[in-house]
Structures are given as structure tokens and as C-alpha cells.
Subunit: 340 residues, 2 copies
């Protein structure tokens, strides 16, 4: 009998055969085979091409033997799918043709229908067929983070327009975020329906909010998006610089909390009400010499023992200039030292 | 008899006549009179022109009647003064001709001598003469933050090169940071000698480090820089996104801790060992309607009562597009509602 995949066992708080490991952004920009596969294709074209999406999703699984694949996509894919004018500029990120500013802009946001994203359903099907028992983690951006791109029109350092809208027109904010939550939730549901066995919701920029603002302006919508996915499906919720939000983040109903490298996992365990934790090696630690990197990884593993379950990961996405050999060393090390 | 300026009283943990208020980046880019004064002058030229520096330092004091002036400068001014090739690009920030990468680059960093910065001594003298009893806060960047600009060659999102150097060559890191600490410290000392009655050390990017890395790679050098200033001089130490570092930051010996908007001051008070606190209205809250902004300010004032002393400020620098009328409203409100 095949035992439950280590990732799923850990995510459910059961005892896995070893500490599972995968990397945020493992599929993509740091891999030479990715650059080869992507040559001549824009990011959105790649996300709409099921064969290419499947190939890119599989590449890190083949190279590293990580315990889970993460679905290759971009957080703005569902917005582009409903007709919002967006381009993903290399080296910059998503850039909107017209930023969201007023009530009228709500008309540009209709509900996402599975028929809008047949390429997602197909790509998930191809990937899960190739993965066999290895889990695929579905991927979506969270409503607050998505709203920040929509309102700023692109990446931002301080989210002035986003926070101004949320404070000055809470009613419009609520209508916008509710729509985005439905879109994010549906984007995750499409992936789980097609075979993804877990999901991760990326609220990358939620850490820019104080806890009071987070609870009022971001948490309800992240919760709504996560609730779209069946409770039996492991649901990970992640943000950067959220040391001050960890307690609040558990109130989304997420079963796994992704922690960035700023908060040691043993400390995070005391503040996340029995949630399984994911993380949290500093993504820059993989630029250290192998021995120093593995020593840091050992600290993460030791701290992770304080949590009811631990999925090893970096504390944020793989940096584009990361040496893949270092990630391979990390995977092997985590597997070897935690095998039961 | 003139009573002690509210800022100094609060910074020393004494009882001020009212809660003092000033704004990080009050002198500069958000003020129309600043843009006028600076027209046709580069940032470094402005920092080396005593009359212009004094004028810019005074502008927000005249406009807002804040309780302290902050010396107008840039964190790379002392580096430029010892011959490091640096340009401050509008909209980007400091950009180095040649980033710091190896031991050889140490030769480019000699000690700062007061004779290197006669324009600082002169500008401080002019400003303190004009300020009268109102205090001038001396300004410097902290060694870690300065190192990040030196090593990355400019602003960065993830500090990969900086953290790689600190992990892979701790000996070179120590020599570099010790030199920078001496330079920062001397830059502050020149200002206090010339008449500044307090200082603030800006470790803006220290929050990118875990507490363990911060304690090893940043804290000792910030401490060294602050120790250059007499203990009787109020010394404020500030960083962004340092919710996880507040305890550690008090170990620098700073008498005032600057807190960003992510951590409520009552919570911060419980973690900063009796230090006076400065902060911490979200800089984006000044884009809200006046009433909503003042309601947020009241929450900050209420939370600040839990600290042994409170200096009202934003949680980070004034955003360039801030409406000065809103800052004026804030100052008046803090003064009116806290007068004893």
C-alpha cells in the first residue's frame, strides 16, 4: 500500500515519512531549463499554454525530487482571464493598462467562470497525470495583494493608492475585495477540481498592514477565498513580513501558515493556534557556502519541531540568481536528516 | 525661565508640556518650498551647501511648528565626503559608481574627519542659531543600511549581495561594518559638536534580517555608532519592519526606539525595556480624510501612553505626494489634545 505523500501527511498534521520540502517559485526563473522552455514566449502566453505550464511545473520535481509540485502561474492570470488589461513585464512584474480607481472600474471585474480558464484545467490535468502520487499545490494570489496590483497599476513600495482607497471608500473597497475573493476562490477551486490536492494562497503584501487594518481590510476576503476550497484540502496561507500578523492569519481558517524568515518557527508555533507551519530559510541563505547553508537549514528544522507539523521551504520565493545545485543539496539534506 | 523643549523632555523620559511631534522626511520632497529651493541643484550639492541645508531644515519648522527640526542630509553624504563615488538619482536613490565587493574595496573607505565635512558643521551652526531653543536632531544612516547601499550599488529589494558577503566572509564583513560604524558615529558627533541636541540613527533596512542575523551582523555596529554620541544626548534608533527586532534594538543602547506603523506602541512598550518610543502613524494614513486621519492619530496617542515617553511621528518617512496641510492638521491636533 502506498503511504500518504509526505507533503499531505505533514499538511494534515499527521506523521510523514520525512519532513517534506518544496520551494516557493521553484518552477521558474532560477532554472536554466525554464529559461529554455520560455524562450520567445511571454509570461501570460506561457500560463495559457497547458503543455508549457505542465512542463514548467514538472521541471523542479524532476531536478530536485521535491515533495510537491506547485502549479506554475501568476497571480494576475485570473484577472487577465476575465478581460482586465494586464501585461507581465520581465524584471518588473504585472503592469495594468488602466489602474482601478473608482466605482466604475468594478464593471471591469466580472466573476471568473471555469470556461474562462480551460487551459488551467487542462494543465492541472496534465501535471497531476505526470506527478502520479506526488501532490500538486494549486496557486492563487490573495484578494488584498491582488487589489494592490489592480489599484497601484503595478508593483509598489508603499501601497499609497491602495490604502487611500481602503480608508476613504470602505464601501467600494468591500465590493472590490469581495469580487476579488470570489475570483481567487474560483481560481483555486478550478485547480482542485482538476486534480490539485492542496492549495496555497499568496498574500505577499499583507505584511504592509497593521494588525487592525489587516483584520478589517484583508482578512475577511482571504477567508472568503480559502473557504471556496473544501476543508479536507490542505490550505496554506502565506505572506512576507507578517511577523506581527501571525495570530490574525490563523483566523482565515488556513490549515497551514507560511512563515517568512524573520520569525523563528518555534516562536511562530506559539502564536498560530496549532497550525502546521511552512518555511522558513532566508532565501539569501542559499548563496552561502553549502556547509553554512545546511547549518542554517538545521536550525529551521530544529525550530520546526515545535510546530504540530512542518513543511520545509524558503521564507519567500527562490531568488532568480539562485544556484539550483544549492536547492538540490537542501532537498537531499532535509530528506536524509529527517527520514523516520 | 524657559522650560525644556517638549521633544527633549519626552526623549529623556521627563514630563513634557505636550506630546512632541516631528516627521521623518519632514524636510524635503513633499514641500513646494523645498522643490523651489532645490531647483537646478543635485541632492549632494544641496547637502554640501550650508545655506541651502539650513533653509531646507528650517522649512518644515516654519510651516508646521513641529517640536524639532531634523538635519537635512542623506545617509550617503559621509561616504561621498571620503571620496566614495556616489550619485543620488531622483526617484531611485543612491547609486554607486563601483559597488563594494572584495577586501580591496576597504581601501576606498578611510576614516571620516570633521575637515571632510565643513559644510555640515556650518549648516548645523546656521540651523541651531535660527532654531533658538527648538532642538535640532542630527541625522545618520546606520552601518548595516549603509553597507547594503555600498554592496548592492543602490536600493535593493532583497539584499542578496549584502547577505551573501556577511555570511560568506564574516571577517571582511566585520572590518567593513566597523569602518562604517566609525564613519556614521563621527558623522553624528560632528553634528552634536556643532550644536545638534539629539540624534537619530536610521537603520532603515535592518528589518530584512532575522533576529539572530541582526544580533550578529548589524546590532554591534549600530551600537558602536551610537556610543560615539555622549550618553546625555538623546539617541533615537529607527528601522522599518522591525516588529521582530524590537527587543534586540534596545540592546544598542539607544534611549528612544522608533517604531514603524506595524506594531502598536502599547505592544512595543512591553518589548522595549522602558525605552521612550517614537512613532507611529502609517504614512499612508495622511491620505485619508482629515477626520479619519485624526482618529488614527488618536489611537497612536492612546497606545503611546503605555510607554515611559512618547514622541509622535509617522511610522516611516513622509511620502513625496503628501499634502502638507494634512501634516499641519496633525501637528495642531497632537499639540491641542495633549497640552498639560
Amino acid at each position: 500500500m502506498e503511504s500518504t505523500a509526505a507533503y499531505l501527511a505533514a499538511a494534515r498534521g499527521e506523521t510523514p515519512s520525512h519532513t517534506p520540502v518544496w520551494f516557493m517559485r521553484q518552477a521558474g526563473r532560477s532554472l536554466p531549463e525554464y529559461k529554455e522552455a520560455r524562450a520567445g514566449t511571454t509570461m501570460l502566453e506561457a500560463c495559457r499554454n497547458p503543455e508549457m505550464t505542465c512542463e514548467i511545473t514538472m521541471q523542479p520535481v524532476r531536478r530536485y525530487d521535491v515533495d510537491a509540485a506547485v502549479f506554475f502561474s501568476d497571480i494576475v492570470v485570473p484577472l487577465a482571464a476575465i478581460g482586465v488589461g494586464i501585461e507581465i513585464k520581465p524584471g518588473t512584474g504585472p503592469v495594468l493598462d488602466e489602474p482601478f480607481r473608482t466605482e466604475k472600474d468594478l464593471d471591469r471585474l466580472r466573476n471568473l467562470d471555469p470556461c474562462d480558464v480551460p487551459y488551467i484545467t487542462e494543465a492541472v490535468g496534465l501535471a497531476t497525470a505526470e506527478l502520479g502520487p506526488k501532490p500538486l499545490i494549486g496557486f492563487a494570489g490573495a484578494p488584498f495583494t491582488l487589489a494592490s496590483y489592480l489599484i497601484e497599476g503595478g508593483p509598489s513600495r508603499d501601497y499609497v493608492n491602495t490604502k487611500t482607497l481602503m480608508r476613504n471608500d470602505p464601501d467600494l473597497w468591500d465590493r472590490l475585495l469581495s469580487k476579488l475573493a470570489a475570483i481567487c476562490g474560483e481560481f483555486l477551486r478550478v485547480q482542485t477540481e482538476a486534480g490539485a490536492s492542496a492549495v496555497q494562497l499568496f498574500d505577499s503584501w499583507a505584511g504592509s498592514l497593521s494588525e487592525a487594518d489587516y483584520r478589517r481590510y484583508a482578512l475577511p476576503y482571504a477567508t472568503q477565498a480559502l473557504m471556496t476550497v473544501p476543508e479536507s484540502t490542505p490550505r496554506t496561507y502565506f505572506g512576507v513580513g507578517t511577523s506581527h500578523l501571525l495570530e490574525a492569519m490563523t483566523d482565515t481558517g488556513a490549515s497551514v501558515i507560511g512563515v517568512d524568515w524573520r520569525t523563528p518557527l518555534d516562536e511562530a508555533a506559539g502564536r498560530t493556534k496549532g497550525r502546521v507551519l511552512q518555511g522558513n530559510l532566508d532565501p539569501t541563505a542559499v548563496f552561502a557556502e553549502p556547509e553554512a547553508m545546511l547549518a542554517e537549514a538545521d536550525k529551521v528544522l530544529a525550530a520546526g519541531r515545535a510546530a504540530p507539523g512542518h513543511i520545509f521551504n524558503l521564507g519567500h520565493g527562490v531568488h532568480p540568481t539562485t544556484n539550483p545545485d544549492q536547492l538540490k543539496r537542501l532537498v537531499d539534506h532535509v530528506h536524509e536528516t529527517t527520514a523516520r
